[in-house]
């Protein structure tokens, strides 16, 4: 039989090479069948459904999370699109208002400028007229002064006052040249 004294002596057992000793086959077979069937039942009924459900629930929760993330992303994308649309609208409106204001102000400025220019031109013309009149008056005065001066100088030089007509002719001749 397989039973023998469990000693570390090299000659502790004689007979067949243990793996080929047919007397132990029956008991090994018996216990293998029991162990394997018990293990199989425990695996099939307990371990495998358990691990399978854990993995499945993980995959489900991952899929759910991914779906949630996708829907949140879609929401945020929509919000971004709405925001950008509002922004573009506001920008366009601001542009229009700015353009309008600028045009209005440019027109007003142009009108003011034209009015001022007109006034200035009128003033200028008036001033020019005044200048011309003054100049004329002054020229007349200059002629008078020149004639008086000439008469006085000539009287001092020759001791006799010249004729008014001759003085006027001479002054006119000198002013002309």
């Amino acid at each position: 039989m397989a039973t023998n004294s469990h000693t570390e002596q090299p000659s502790g057992h004689k007979g067949a090479f243990p793996p080929f000793n047919p007397t132990t086959f029956a008991s090994q077979l018996f216990w293998l069948v029991i162990a394997f069937v018990v293990l199989y039942v425990l695996m099939a009924k307990l371990a495998i459904p358990r691990i399978g459900s854990i993995i499945e629930s993980r995959q489900k929760s991952i899929a759910d999370d991914l779906a949630g993330a996708a829907s949140l992303k879609a929401e945020s994308d929509a919000a971004i699109a709405a925001y950008e649309k509002a922004l573009a609208e506001a920008r366009a409106r601001a542009q229009a208002i700015a353009n309008e204001t600028r045009d209005k102000q440019a027109a007003a400025a142009e009108a003011t400028r034209k009015r001022l220019e007109g006034e200035l031109n009128a003033k200028l013309a008036e001033a020019e007229k005044t200048i011309a009149a003054t100049k004329q008056a002054a020229m007349a005065n200059v002629r008078g002064i020149a004639a008086d001066a000439t008469k006085a100088i000539v009287e001092r030089l020759i001791g006799k006052a010249p004729a008014d007509a001759a003085v006027d002719a001479a002054v006119a001749d000198a002013l002309k040249s």
Partner: protein, 250 residues
């Protein structure tokens, strides 16, 4: 102290349990290690997932990883229809893996170093393939042995070879696991015994014993790989054989 490298494979009766016919069935060290393996697997898979956390901890991650690893292996080799055998393949994989890994702990017993264990497991796969193949496909299951596009004059030879390879599957399936585990443990034991042999030879012996010690460390790492790889190979071959039962028409 010379140690017999075969001693570790000894089946030891701990206490008798039942008597079937003339055969006494005792609770053995092998049975104890199988029970421990079942317990360890359940602790790992049920205990590890006790918190059912959405973000798994280390143990739960490992449990889920082993689940998905086997599930992906089945899907890639036998398609989604193969998932009906998921409990079977997962049980096979975990049982062989845990039994192999427990066996790597010094002074323990490795259940899979016995041909009767691996042969029973391989035969259970073989029978499952046969029963499911005929149940699902009826006589079309024989298409498995008749590859398409083969000239008629060599067809008998091909069919003969196919049948022969089909029948020899459980043998290669079981011997591969058995021989790998047996050879690995014998090698480990032999090199480990060199350490004690050389260590008893005085100062030079102790210096010389470092070489087999380093070898044993390296071999243990290799055996860890083999323990996983053989469980994986057994599971993936099971998937491939089951695929034949599900889709017999090549």
């Amino acid at each position: 102290m010379a140690v017999d490298p075969i001693h570790q494979f000894q089946i030891i009766d701990l206490f008798p349990v039942v008597k079937i016919g003339h055969t006494e069935i005792a609770f053995t060290n092998s049975a104890a290690y199988m029970a421990v393996a079942v317990l360890v697997i359940m602790l790992f898979l049920i205990g590890g997932t006790a918190r059912r956390s959405l973000v798994p901890g280390r143990l739960q991650s490992a449990a889920e990883l082993s689940y998905e690893f086997v599930a992906n292996t089945i899907r890639s080799t036998a398609g989604t229809e193969g998932m009906r055998f998921f409990p079977f393949v997962f049980t096979l994989f975990m049982f062989i893996l845990v039994v192999n890994l427990i066996g790597l702990i010094p002074y323990t017993f490795t259940v899979t170093t016995h041909i009767v264990i691996t042969a029973t497991l391989a035969l259970s796969v073989f029978v499952t393939v046969l029963v499911y193949g005929f149940w699902k496909n009826g006589l079309h299951f024989f298409n498995l042995f008749v590859p398409k596009g083969i000239p008629v004059y060599i067809l008998p030879l091909i069919v003969f070879i196919e049948v022969l390879s089909f029948i020899s599957r459980p043998i290669s399936h079981s011997v591969r696991l058995f021989a790998n585990m047996l050879a690995g443990h014998i090698t480990l034991k032999v090199f480990a015994s060199f350490i004690t042999l050389l260590g008893g030879l005085g100062i030079f012996g102790i210096a010389g014993a470092t070489l087999p010690l380093a070898l044993v460390v390296a071999l243990t790492a290799l055996e860890l790989l083999v323990a996983f790889l053989q469980a994986y190979v057994f599971a993936i071959l099971t998937c491939i054989y089951l695929n034949d039962a599900i889709h017999p028409g090549h």
